[in-house]
């Protein structure tokens, strides 16, 4: 009986090790994109990200078995319950922040929450995927992104511990069709699967691996990974977009006179770059995104190039301020990489005196 028990334990332990062998530091993702997703995105898909649900199972085993090492396991911001309640918001916010650095045209969450809230939608209604079409209509977007935190758990097996975070997202078109889904799992294993143990104890490494910071780190890694899943369109897509990224070659201002600009003066900015794009200029952080219009296209050379012109009339005079001038070019669709070009000089602007 004893032998059988020992043998069973050995088999269980071996199976456990085998199972964990792939769990050292893993990142797995499964994405499914509808055929129409890529062309829709290329046309400029406008997306609202609604509040995430959290369906991750309770971490019961861990809290019961490892209570004595609570110092190690404590989560930073007020305990697991509070963290769990705010997890959906955190992941949604992180994902939006990363997506805003990418290609999709996102509606700010505060705007979508406010608009739906004013329309009488409860948080539960916002998470109801069957109402995607209704939400899209209300928010005037092309698609709605839903998310669910499916894992946010830690496991400890004496010589090995794992921390795992998983999120599933689903992008629904305004007509209710599912355009894109992604399930992403990030996991860190600490202990025997990290390699041959050296001068850190084989027992302390798994416990150290359960640190709350690992869980937090994975939470953020999942958001970053999902943003890449959603932002990239496949193996050759990135290269194609890079090759087609619009380009600016010249930025130059035209001043009406020497010295600081005065109230009523018209500052004109000219840029030359890829045709048929959206070009805007910034004056420091004072005026951001002044639109420029395409005024001419020259297709005689090896590649076509366009001249863009924009202007701003100085609204009020005050103390002179030397502001940097820069231009940004992006595809008109809002999709794809852009480029920013800074003019080597400063504009002697005269802002309103405080």
């Amino acid at each position: 009986m004893t032998m059988a028990l020992v043998g069973g334990r050995r088999r269980t332990f071996a199976a456990l090790l085998l199972g964990l062998a792939t769990a050292c530091t893993t990142s797995t993702t499964h994405t499914v994109a509808a055929p129409e997703f890529a062309p829709l995105r290329a046309a400029g898909l406008r997306v609202a990200v609604l509040p995430f649900t959290v369906s991750a199972p309770e971490d019961g085993f861990l809290s019961a078995a490892l209570a004595p090492v609570a110092q190690v396991l404590a989560l930073e911001a007020g305990g697991p319950d509070l963290m769990r309640a705010r997890l959906g918001d955190r992941l949604r916010g992180d994902l939006v922040k990363w997506l805003q650095r990418g290609d999709l045209r996102l509606v700010d969450p505060w705007h979508s929450d406010t608009a739906l809230g004013h329309a009488g939608w409860s948080p539960q209604a916002m998470q109801d995927r069957t109402r995607a079409a209704e939400a899209a209509r209300l928010l005037q977007v092309d698609a709605i992104l839903y998310g669910d935190v499916t894992r946010w758990n830690r496991d400890w097996y004496v010589v090995q511990s794992t921390v795992a975070v998983a999120v599933a997202i689903e992008l629904r078109h305004q007509d209710g069709r599912v355009l894109f889904t992604a399930d992403r799992l990030e996991r860190i294993g600490s202990g025997v699967t990290g390699g041959p143990t050296g001068y850190v104890s084989a027992l302390t490494e798994p416990i150290a691996g359960l640190k709350a910071s690992h869980l937090e780190g994975l939470t953020r890694a999942v958001a970053r990974g999902l943003a890449m899943d959603l932002g990239a369109d496949g193996s050759d897509g990135d290269a194609r977009r890079h090759a087609l990224a619009p380009h600016l070659s010249v930025v130059a201002p035209a001043f009406p006179h020497a010295g600081a600009l005065r109230a009523g003066d018209r500052l004109e900015v000219t840029a030359i770059g890829t045709p048929d794009c959206e070009v805007r200029f910034d004056l420091g952080r004072l005026l951001v995104g002044v639109p420029m219009a395409q005024v001419a296209v020259d297709a005689s050379g090896r590649s076509a190039r366009a001249t863009y012109r924009g202007y701003y009339v100085v609204p009020a005079a005050g103390r002179a301020l030397d502001l940097p001038l820069s231009c940004t070019i992006r595809p008109h669709t809002g999709v794809g990489n852009g480029e920013r070009l800074v003019w080597l000089g400063t504009v002697p602007w005269a802002p309103q005196a405080p």
Partner: protein, 290 residues
């Protein structure tokens, strides 16, 4: 003797690496302010990464119950006041906190200095670190909170305590832009966690409804000037036929912009109140032509 010389640097490197680990210290004094603005961060980190850190911190602070001013509004107001010219070379020490708080209409400002990146990789020992120093200063100049933090991705075949497979994997990531962003994310999260939380109810007390906008267009051929009555801390932009999202400048107590007279078609103005996240933070109004 020569054996000692060979072995000597390793313990030193180990000691140095141990000392260069993650660190975080902070101080808090007095009651928490409600409305805060984040001044642009300074340091040797790339300007785009500093901007990202600022946005991440703003997001974390909103989570903790603070009313954080829209960074676009902060930057515009700082520029109008002459304190901000080029964000890449912004010097927060040159901004008088009291005057800035008054101008920005906030209770306190977050001043971020020395956002720096340190990197080295000797294979046996590697380090990629980000440093940051932040302070939340009240309008009266007294500090409410200050924090210094460092996040380090360090290791190496010698120092990774036998976790060989993981170390080989991490060598590939060392110093990559994604690792920088991950460290930055981690650093900001750790720093934000040291800011005392405010209750949601306290945050809600300042969520005022958006005041109605009144926008008028006055033609002065060949131009037309559009004026808007909006709070001076708002961010306001104009949509015209053929032109979208023209930023409006603060003039007097409102906003104005002069454009070439547009063709027929609807024109509208949009205003975002500075404390994004508050209910009814966006207002839109048609432009009335005179």
């Amino acid at each position: 003797m020569s054996a000692r010389r060979t072995v000597g640097p390793l313990p030193l490197a180990a000691l140095f690496a141990a000392a260069a680990c993650n660190s975080l210290s902070h101080q808090v004094a007095g009651p928490a302010p409600a409305r805060v603005a984040l001044l642009p961060f300074a340091g040797t980190l790339a300007p785009a990464d500093r901007d990202l850190a600022r946005e991440l911190l703003a997001f974390r602070l909103r989570e903790r119950g603070y009313l954080v001013q829209d960074t676009a509004a902060t930057d515009r107001l700082l520029s109008e006041s002459g304190w901000l010219t080029d964000a890449a070379t912004f010097a927060p020490a040159a901004v008088p906190t009291a005057t800035a708080c008054t101008r920005l209409q906030v209770d306190a400002c977050i001043v971020g200095t020395s956002f720096d990146r340190l990197q080295s990789n000797l294979v046996l020992w590697r380090r990629h670190a980000l440093d940051a120093s932040l302070a939340l200063q009240r309008a009266d100049g007294s500090p409410f909170w200050r924090a210094n933090g460092r996040r380090t991705a360090h290791g190496g075949l010698v120092l990774q305590s036998g976790q060989l497979l993981r170390e080989l994997q991490q060598q590939l990531d060392h110093g990559s832009p994604m690792q920088t962003l991950a460290l930055l994310d981690d650093l900001i999260d750790a720093i934000a966690a040291t800011v005392p939380s405010r209750s949601a109810a306290a945050a809600a007390d300042a969520t005022a409804a958006t005041p109605p906008l009144l926008a008028t267009a006055v033609p002065m051929p060949p131009h037309t000037t559009v004026s808007v009555d909006a709070p001076p801390t708002a961010t306001v932009w104009l949509d015209l036929p053929g032109e979208r999202a023209v930023p409006m400048a603060s003039v007097g107590g409102g906003f104005a912009v002069t454009r070439d007279t547009p063709g027929a078609g609807p024109a509208s103005v949009h205003a975002r109140l500075p404390f994004a996240g508050a209910a009814a933070a966006l207002a839109t109004a048609p432009v009335v032509r005179r």
